[in-house]
Amino acid sequence: MNNNLKRINIYSIYLGALILILPLIAFFINAFSFRWFYPQVIPKELSLQAWVRLKLIPKPGQRTFEGFLDLWASNPTVIKALVNSLTIGILVTIVSIIIALPAARVLGLLNFRFKKLIIFIMVSPTILPPIAFVLGLNINFISIGFSGSFFGVCLVHLVPIMPYVVLTMTGIFANYNPDFEHQARTLGANKTTTFFQITLPAIAPGMVVAALFAFLVSWSQYLLTFLIGAGKVMTLPLLVFSTASSGNPALTAAISIIFIFPAILILVFTSKFVSGQSGATSGFGKI
């Protein structure tokens, strides 16, 4: 009886896992079989045509190293969007970490008046929807010329990322003993050496996780980029959205696979760090 129950339990876990990866399976079938018509479950033939049409893989016969280079050098839309997404994500992540570091330290280690209020202000973008601020901000950005600029897009990405990075790193500092720094100082290390040899190694693991997920938050932004970018800054999510709306499943699937690749990579890298307690997860609601 108990054994049967156990077995049912395990089978339902497997079933759940299978259901959960159905979309992923559908993505791969769509992307690698150009004509996957209803009611086929298994596609009749495999094809790279979607990738060829996106100019990511050269036509048959030109698939040499040079062929790839030439094709990519012609700067197809997907590559352009990919580079934009990467650049924005990396820039915004670095800037947010640098800005958040001192703030998180103060919030994590010290007690002072208005601390609750400041944390409340910091977290409000994680609760209130982006549409509430971005419409108004857009008009402002148009009037000062930030709209449609790369810089404007980076700036607006800081809004969902900043609270997340500050909160995560505050959590890191709350579990951090500053006496380690004091110890190093009394042993003759100056402030700079202490930061690089004592502080940084201690907070690095948490910081890397915060950075990776900050990057993901930026990587996933659709609405903010669409509005502030005003059609001039093309990123991957914009491309996924427009392709999906225009309806070619093979192209949509191929772009989506590129789009989710870093997400899966980051999950693999960080799965051992990610836990509800770390606070790192609270930002996922935003992706």
Binding site: P23, I127, P129, A132, G136, L137, N140, S256
Partner: protein, 291 residues
Amino acid sequence: MGGERLKIVLSLTPPLLIIITLFFGGIFYGFLQSLGYQPAIGKYELNFSAYYNVMFSERYAKLFWSGLALNLWVSFASTFLAAVFALFGALAIRKTFVGKTLCNFIYSLNLPMPHLVVAVGMIFVFSQSGLLARLAAQIGMISSPGDFPVLVRDKYGFGIILAYIWKEAAFFFIILMSVLQSLGENFEELAQSLGANRWQRFRYVILPLVMPNLFSASIIVFAFSFGAYEVPALLGVIYPQMLPVMAFEFFLNPDLNARSEGMALSIIIALIVMILVVFYFWLTQAKIRKD
């Protein structure tokens, strides 16, 4: 001591400046515009007519109230169901079995996945020519795509709910797993030795222990699903339409008067989220005081 205060101020200023100018500044300016302040077309007087129009004018009232109903339905249903699925998943997966690590990974897989991709995935799986419809046709359950129920781009928001469940269940799952892990099995074993059966252990031991975390996670999920744009934009229909999509389309409307209405709508969404969050905090605080 003065030096310390200076350090605090200097450290906190940059992130606060970003949040205050961009986020609160944006909300404030949007609010001004929702009151009809549009210097671009020479409108400076302030009034609440955009709010009135959105909620009560003959033109928009039906759209607005049906949209609000859809919003509430989608957010509540997806938050609740995602939490329930995650809870059962997390409870089931705690014990060791073959393939546990892989299952754990798959259950967390949607966590870093962008919402946009999950929405596209729902189309691929649940549309009338999607993976499930094909499987159903294969085993003879349906004879044509039209026999398969409309699950995406449907007027009940099923597709949207499915997408949010897919995505947020992973979020709940991770949080629950770490809570359960840190609790260990001691409490349950203790309860068992005191004579609690399987259901009682769930109801009186596990549930109260995970509830605080479950609650705070659900507020994040609820607030997000209430105000997000991408998923309903891809998986919704023209009528009824979720409020964020409606606000955005008003805003993009070439008629600049509709812009005020779009802004008003976005402020209304923010207000509702805020009221619900405050209500939630009041509820949990009251409960904590009572305990």
